[in-house]
């Protein structure tokens, strides 16, 4: 929601910019560090391949089932300080110290590489930071105990088993790691340090007269531990494109090269969580969240690389020929990774299929949490719904216009002076009553709780945090004092588990006065945003628990805050109620704690367009539950943009309308009857697909496969899909193409090959592998059901998803060439953790040989608890069945019913175009079959 610049002196200038030149962005480039202004980045980036003296491997051995050994720097002069790259005299002993490494293999095709300094010969007491709490606690249980090492003939190397069909190779001199397919050809998949760019600045004692300080604008970073950066190259073999490493705004799904021959050199992709005011729609610059996980994809394989490190990171994607323009590599993508601090703790995922890579990553950082069902529905937000009257009026207007919504949000103004956990009692005198009124209609409320705590002695949270010493400290050891919404603020130190527990307790009904069971939480500004800090965030030399410097942890601060808040809601509900927490900042693993959104976007067509590749890359890197503010946060969307945004946003995994408080009201009914109808229709589509979405959330929660998927995830062999940034799959069955331009007359849609497609507006069937040109319809954006799939829907619309619980289902069956199709439906109580004990229904619907069968796929090992539902199926729609079928018979019972032509949706004006089985009224929980005659 927010923009740090608003309360500083900058607004005037900003305002002038906005007024006088709408094309000029308000993004203040000079307020943020470029690579050239960042010594570790500048130095590392200018190196040529193999220009560094190499490391060699020694003392390789198997210990505890892992490969370990030393990396010995070449005896030549290699380490130079970043302040003075030419200072040969600056050589010291530390440069000669060997590093320790370990290579571990985990179940499912995962190789882990750890490289740290040798503590036994450390010149300073400072230890490099290893980020805890991100890797799944049971990861170690899944480590494979390597029985032996072997040495390939001919070269000094060690090889070991990685997964069936894959092996790891450790080359000794120079040091290099290659993951490759086994067999005679030994086709490589991933390699590390193939270009000799591995560099590791070891900690050392400060010399007399040496100056480690770094300045940026008016801020000075004391850097008490000096240079400690790490950089290396990673190559993705057999790849056409790389993806991932969010969060960046770009209209491109794949990561475009940042340097190399034939490429305009840009900044590297920066991973540094920042609150960026009016971020650009196309920039490698870092915004709110960071996931240092990159995936590659090509016709032969998909692979991934994840570096667990929360310090500032800069990543170059290198264009072919970057290393040797005379012989540009084909079928390989090289990347260059730089980080300010931390250790090497990296994971190689071998694939080979795209979904394999995602599962491998999820097995390391976790799958997304199963959300409450209401959270999958539509959210209505604005900065700010001003008071209880406003809330009541907006709520009533949704009903008046028959538009469903599930959650109403309150931004910062609901609090008493931006003291979170409090209410402005003038505006919100009866918060419980207000929430209860919404809850009576099955609706929920979300309030904002940010990490900055107002430094006000009469504010109990501040008082406690001060007394207990729970705040992050500044470099001098005092409580860090920064500026945010409430003015002078401090930030609790979420790295400390004790403080996280303390924070979690703040969400109890007792502590959070005015909260009720239908209230959930929004964490904003948790990059953290510090209005008067360097780059609008916390100084890097601030100190956390265990003497950890903020620079070492920065990108994970929001992650910890999100974690503590989500745990607070779990605690509040005695472990029985699934939390819902939306966060703006995130890190690898945030998917376990809730949803994220793409922050303060703008109400323009470009931002509509970039929302799709942004959400797709988030999904690929684990953050399935994500979305962009529908309508755009800053500025006033023209009504056609708003309508298109609702039509697209209805397919985002997280679907929320939101707006800045300087914008005009834009609730869906404010733009005339016609536009109200269009937005209602868009929201209705989401509600009708809720059973399908919820099933996909279940799939994500068990496998890590995202809800919203790039086409290549489903069609890995179809090259045309690799860089398609405009269309996406929802699950494996639905393809959606956005409309991203004003007054667009026609839309080109690429339908992937290997399947046929049914247009969900008119039931027309298309062959795959074609670029289809369709007239752009005002009513909806193009959507297609893939032949061979079954989608469960609910076609009755209620005030909120809550009232749909008992409503009957519609099954939409799209038959493929063999007149077969499959689909799934997952149902649980939508709110508790009983599903973990087996309380759910999971069905697979299979259509084959003119018979639709529902089978139970809930494993018998799922648990003791059961979940039941009396819901029935009221309608079965068959697409692609040759006409002639007249009757259907249900077994058991041999109950007979008619087949007739019916519409695809119950929208006015839909033509009867699809064979429809009328009222089979079979219970969704039961085993049954329906035979067609």
């Amino acid at each position: 929601m927010t923009s740090p610049v608003r309360r500083s002196a900058a607004p005037v200038l900003l305002f002038l910019l906005l007024v006088f030149s709408s094309s000029v962005s308000a993004w203040k480039k000079e307020e943020f560090r470029s690579c050239k202004q960042t010594p570790f980045c500048k130095r590392a980036r200018t190196r040529a391949p193999h220009s560094l003296p190499p490391f060699s491997v020694s003392d390789v051995s198997l210990s505890d089932g892992s490969v370990s050994g030393r990396l010995v720097p070449s005896p030549s002069i290699r380490q130079v300080t970043d302040e003075d790259p030419s200072a040969d005299a600056a050589v010291d002993d530390t440069a000669q110290r060997p590093l320790l490494f370990r290579l571990s293999v985990y179940h499912g095709g995962i190789l882990r590489l750890e490289i740290d300094e040798d503590p036994s010969s450390a010149p300073t007491p400072k230890r490099r930071f290893r980020l805890p709490d991100v890797l799944l606690p049971d990861l170690e249980d899944r480590r494979l105990w390597l029985p032996r090492l072997s040495s390939p003939s001919g070269v000094a190397a060690t090889s070991f088993y990685l997964a069936d069909g894959f092996e790891g190779i450790l080359r000794h001199d120079p040091f290099e790691i290659v993951v490759r397919r086994t067999g005679s050809e030994g086709e490589p998949v991933l390699s590390f340090n193939s270009h000799g760019l591995f560099d590791y600045e070891q900690l050392r004692a400060k010399k007399e007269g040496e100056d480690w300080e770094e300045s940026f604008r008016s801020h000075t970073d004391s850097r008490p531990h000096g240079p400690q950066s790490i950089s290396f190259d990673v190559s993705f073999h057999g790849a056409n494109f790389v993806y991932g490493i969010p969060e960046h705004a770009s209209p491109s799904l794949s990561l475009r090269p940042t340097r190399g021959s034939g490429v305009d050199e840009s900044e590297p992709y920066r991973l540094f969580n920042l609150d960026v005011f009016e971020y650009l729609h196309d920039s490698p610059f870092g915004i709110y969240g960071s996931i240092p996980f990159m995936l590659s994809h090509g016709t032969r394989s998909t692979s991934g690389f994840f570096w667990l490190n929360a310090a500032e990171m800069q990543i170059d994607v290198l264009a072919p020929g970057w290393d040797d323009s005379a012989a540009p590599n084909a079928g390989r993508v090289d990347s260059f990774w730089m980080s300010e601090a931390g250790v090497v703790d990296a994971f190689f995922f071998v694939g080979p299929g795209p979904k394999d890579v995602l599962k491998q990553y999820a097995s390391v950082t976790g799958t997304p949490a199963m959300p409450q069902e209401f959270a999958v529905a539509y959210h209505q937000c604005r900065w700010n719904y001003r008071d209880e009257e406003d809330v009541a009026a907006v709520d009533a207007a949704f009903d008046e216009h028959d538009i469903p919504y599930d959650v109403l949000w309150l931004d910062i103004e609901h609090t008493d002076g931006k003291r979170y956990f409090t209410w402005d009692r003038t505006l919100f005198p009866h918060p419980e009553e207000m929430q209860k009124k919404l809850a009576a209609k099955g609706r929920h409320m979300v309030t904002i709780v940010d990490p900055h705590i107002k430094r006000d002695d009469s504010f109990h949270v501040h008082k406690e945090a001060t007394e207990k010493g729970y705040y992050v400290k500044d470099a001098s050891g005092k409580d860090f004092d920064g500026w945010c919404w409430p003015g002078s603020s401090s930030y609790s130190d979420m790295l400390n588990p004790e403080i996280r527990e303390w924070w979690a307790d703040k969400f109890s009904y007792k502590n959070y006065v005015g909260s009720t069971a239908s209230l959930y939480i929004w964490n904003d500004m948790n990059e953290p945003s510090v209005f008067n800090g360097p780059e609008v965030t916390m100084p890097r030399d601030a100190i956390h628990h265990g003497e950890v410097e903020h620079r070492e942890l920065h990108n994970a601060y929001g992650y910890y805050f999100h974690m503590a808040t989500a745990n607070g809601l779990v605690k509040r509900g005695n472990g029985k109620d699934r939390p819902f927490v939306l966060s703006r900042a995130f890190f690898a693993g945030s998917q376990r704690y809730g949803a994220i959104w793409t922050g303060d976007n703008s109400a323009d067509w470009d931002h509509l367009r970039v929302s799709v590749p942004m959400i797709l890359n988030l999904g690929l890197t684990g953050m399935s539950f994500s979305g962009a503010d529908v309508g755009g946060f800053f500025g006033n969307p023209e009504v056609d943009l708003l309508v298109r945004w609702y039509q697209l946003g209805a397919y985002y995994p997280f679907f929320r309308g939101h707006a800045h408080h300087d914008t005009k009201r834009r609730e869906p009914w404010l733009f005339g009857e016609e536009n109200t109808a269009l937005m209602r229709e868009a929201i209705h589509i989401r509600y009708s697909l809720l059973p399908y979405y919820y099933t996909l959330f279940r799939e994500a929660a068990t496998s890590g496969i995202p809800i919203m998927r790039p086409l290549w995830l489903e069609f890995p062999a179809d090259k045309e899909t690799y860089d398609n940034s405009e269309a996406f799959m929802v699950g494996s069955s639905l393809l959606v193409q956005g409309v991203y331009e004003k007054n667009q007359k026609s839309v080109s849609v690429y339908l992937p090959s290997g399947a046929s497609w049914f247009n969900l507006r008119n039931g027309v069937k298309y062959d795959g592998g074609v670029l289809l040109k369709l007239d752009a319809s005002e009513d909806s954006i193009p959507s297609f059901q893939r032949a061979g799939t079954i989608i469960p829907r609910k076609d009755r619309f209620r005030r909120s998803s809550t009232q749909m619980v008992n409503d009957p289902y519609t099954l939409v069956i799209a038959l493929n060439g063999s007149l077969a199709a499959e689909g799934e439906l997952y149902i649980d109580d939508g709110e508790s953790y009983d599903f973990e004990k087996g309380a759910y229904i999971h069905r697979r619907f299979i259509f084959a040989n003119n018979k639709l069968t529902s089978i139970d796929i809930r494993p018998s090992t799922a648990g003791e608890k059961k979940f039941s539902s009396d819901c029935t199926i009221e309608r079965i729609i068959l697409l692609g069945l040759p006409s002639g079928a007249k009757k259907a018979v249900v077994a058991p019972g041999n109950h007979e019913m008619n087949i007739e032509l019916g519409p695809l949706t119950l929208r006015k004006g839909s033509k009867p175009i699809a064979l429809t089985i009328r009222k089979p009224n079979i219970r969704v929980a039961d085993d049954w079959s329906v035979r067609i005659f």
Partner: protein, 616 residues
Amino acid sequence: MGALRIKFSVTITCLFALWIAGFASLPAREFLGIAPQDEGYYKSDVIKCKDGAKKFTKQQLNDEFCDCLDGTDEPGTSACPEGKFYCRNSGHIPQIIFSSRVNDGLCDCCDGSDEYNGNVNCSNTCWEAGKAARERLKKKIEKHQDGLVIRKQEVEKAKQEFVKEEVELSKLKNEEKILKGLVEKLREHKERIKKAEEEERLKKEKEEAQRVAETKSNEQKQLLDEYPEDLPERPHDKLEKTSQYVKDDHGDSIAYDHGSDHKSHEVPSDHSTNQHVLEDKDITTVKAGANEETGTKEVHPDDAADQVQSPETTEGLSREKLGRLVASRWTGELSDKQTKEHNDKNEEEKENHDFAESGEEENYDSYYHSDTDDDRHQYDDEDDDNDFQDDADEPYGKDEVEYDDSSYTDKDFTSESPDTTTGSLSWLDKIQHTVQNVIQAFNFFRTPIDISESSRVNKEYDDASLKLSKLQSRISSLSEKLKHDFGKEKEFYSFYDQCFEYKQNKYVYKVCPFRKASQVEGHSTTQLGRWANFEESYSVMQFSNGEKCWNGPDRSLKVRLRCGLKYELADVDEPSRCEYVAILSTPISCREEKLKELQQKLEDLNKSQPLAHDEL
């Protein structure tokens, strides 16, 4: 599981039985959700979808499967998203709800007929709700009736005033013509004198000493220098002749504020409000006097004949008024009677009526009502009377400098020429006569030229010019006023002279129709907008192009007009940044059509009433 299901169906059966019992008068299942007048449509065995798309059989009616996309076949279920469900609501008004509300677990119809699947048990609240609704409706109807009476008078008055001012304008234009002629004549004459004098001077130059000639010319120069001093002096003289309070306001607030857009210094602080209002009040009275016979009488007691006849004498009342006004400085109370004399009776009647009928509930009811009705922010009859006065009697000239000046002149002008019809002629005659005399008296053939004669001509010329410029300024202010759109019946004519105020927390909102709207906080004033126009068939006053908002639009204000017995501004709100809305109650917005609609509604309500009551 099995047991559970049995229990469940038993519950359903029980509830269904209950439901049947409770709503014995309701239609059979297949007629669920169908309005009585529509039942005929569903009589046949094969029924058409209303959109004509297809047909369905009687078995398909309300069978929980949507056959007609327009919902024709499922009026009583939630199967068709486009469907509508009719609840009979005996004892209350029948209601048509979205089919999405049927069996959704929430009681929507007061008779509970939308929830029949047994998941919830909705009690029948129609009788209580109907009773309350009827009460509210009755009150609303009364308000509309009373409001219409006031409105009628206001419209009548406005029409007359409008005609009067039109007449005045055309008359003034005539006078302007004549006066222009006179001024021209005087000017010519003056020039001739000057010329003659010049000639004489030249002639005398030869005869007299140079010093004498110089002295003479100095004297003339001195004369000329006196002109400007005349200008500011005159208004004061005349104001004093008219009335002290006019001078106070216009002198202090207007004339000297010329050109200043933000008169923050004169924004009343809480402390000074009363006094300020009092002053305003007087002005408006006078102002009203200028428009109404009563006021005119007060200011110019001698003048009578020409005016539209006055039904009441105001001399006495205006003393009372004065007394109340002064009293209210301490009490803070003002009465309706102080202005708009002829409304007083009606107002009082109405108020008595209201009190008799509703007493204290009125207030509560009107708020309760506000949730559902589009007349959302009803005027609160019980509110302090003086609000009306405060609002209505804002010194219209306070903010609008141009206008103030003209009205200033207006008073000045009128006071000097008391009778606007017959009187003005004599006034003009007098001038004409004087001019004639002056001109004739002047003997060009007498040498040397009589200096006193010459200065008399100059003086007459100055007087006439000043008069002319005042006249012209009055003409321009009148034309400015009359070109506005005052509504189909000129019903908003009186708004021209009024401002309305509303205090909300630290802000005072001020709305001056046809001019501007502002938000005052302490000593700073923010312009919310300048008058744009009426919108939505005179139910909205739009003020736009106010002060620019930081990072937002220019401020604007939409004032929604509601029927109310008094003039009252309320509920200023800012739903979007810098886009304000407010409600203004006024009898002007009480409409016959709306009254009829309300009466019809009440009639409908009453129709279903006894039956339902019996049942219960």
